[in-house]
Symmetry: C2
Subunit: 326 residues, 2 copies
Amino acid sequence: MLTLQDLGEHALLQRLHRFCPPNLIGDDGAVLPLQPGHKLVVTTDVLVENVHFSDQTTSGFDVGWRAAAANLSDLAAMGAEPVGLTVGLSLPPTTPWDWLGTVYQGLIACSQQYQTAIVGGDLTRGPIATLAITALGQVQLSQVLQRSAAQVGDRLLVTGVHGASRAGLELLLHPDRAPASPEHGTAWIAAHQRPQPRLDLLPWLRPWQAQRAIAAMDSSDGLADAVVQICRASGVGAKLLADAIPIPLGLAAWVGPEQTLNWALYGGEDFELVLALPLAAAIALQDQIATATIIGEITPEPEVIVDNGGETLELTQASGFQHFNA
Amino acid sequence: MLTLQDLGEHALLQRLHRFCPPNLIGDDGAVLPLQPGHKLVVTTDVLVENVHFSDQTTSGFDVGWRAAAANLSDLAAMGAEPVGLTVGLSLPPTTPWDWLGTVYQGLIACSQQYQTAIVGGDLTRGPIATLAITALGQVQLSQVLQRSAAQVGDRLLVTGVHGASRAGLELLLHPDRAPASPEHGTAWIAAHQRPQPRLDLLPWLRPWQAQRAIAAMDSSDGLADAVVQICRASGVGAKLLADAIPIPLGLAAWVGPEQTLNWALYGGEDFELVLALPLAAAIALQDQIATATIIGEITPEPEVIVDNGGETLELTQASGFQHFNA
């Protein structure tokens, strides 16, 4: 099996350059145009083997796809169109070339779907596979989406189902626990392995942004986290209806309603947008976008609560992944 | 000793946010303006503990300083003014807060010296300290510096001494081998620990860039590597005079003339600019900038050679650091 140290740095860089637009390679940095009147948007993610991905649940292709998708989702949550991605890699010299090649294929496949490309990077050796992705985007200042823009009376709207990625992970870890309908399992695994950043939503928001700023965040760290963060940044609270949250087909039958709600709120990595916007805008989006659903309302009280069939739950960030806690 | 896992993610992020401009923190990405008519320039570096730095030779402050300096030097080599840096970090949970705090102090100290700031980042756990820095810059298209712009008859000019960083590293690894003059050793160590990206050169190049494109690269991978890369990209060769290459005061007396030339050509990490430009421009810069020195000439023959007192050496990239070779 051909490894990175078999190839050596020169041959390795030649292979990786094939994945990048030829006009951007071979100098100290890439030169990129922004559209006139647009601001630069930048966002960064670091992914570490055995922390964020493992061979058990994630192929090289999916490592690349998810890394690109997570960063493009952050751009979407800012209202920005992608301009390019940079890829900083640290890898053991014994890494098989095939694995790295498929990581790049995944990065490229996701980037191309959203009309963008890898515009730079660095590659060095290290004891464990680590990817640092920086996504560059552009947006007009009046079209920036910010967490702090929610107002009392706004509706909370999600752009798709929540809990599917967590269900897909469960199925990958426990393939013996297959659900009754195999198509459901396939859909959950797809949600986990090939998340779709919701850049497609941005044009639908533009007419409403001409009237007023819209609040948004992506749900990569969970729906509960996104709602809590929007409310904190805006100095408001929220009331959600558990029954209104769109959940994956077949999931409640597989793990029961309680686990389904838990995964929908705290599962994370669904990469949908969570928006707080005026009633008229929320209704219009719900009509225009098949998967868009109003799930609650912004309130003056600071609490973020969920009405679960009469029972009241308070949402927290506490169940989110705490990178540095024991 | 307070570690990152003692702090937990929330308190840790609060501490790190103090290092960043307050208006850029707390959303999915940073929104940054570019000046009208400017292109975006982006460059990325990944630094891994025990590969690129170690506790023996580099304090936390210097890890941060060098990481910022290396990326700002890449911007300088593109002719770009800095817009901001993003910092992607992966660290063991047992990392002392004091170390991370001093890394950020070093990043900030270097950034502030060049009127820029940390505009985003990510922090996650991992088995070994890894920094991924992306530098963002801006440049007018007519003022981009490119490796491929060298022309036959151009002079090669360096913006400062070469070999000092390598000498500083040697002294840090072998403190018992101190040179005759302690001030020389202090200067070499400073060159190694606190390199100065040559962004200060850019305004001096602008009048000449109005006439013709100038070729440039930084000498982070060694002076020989920079000259060879410029020649390859431009389809030309070069002839250097060994005696013309500016070397650190006292170095030849410390390690002899042969080792001094070797370190000047292949030592690396001096972070000066290597420029190929017309004779009149080279002479003017040599007059204007105290440390700028003409070291050779671009030739039609493809070889890159050094005249070392009558002996002819051919320059290669081969002695450069091969990240993935055994």
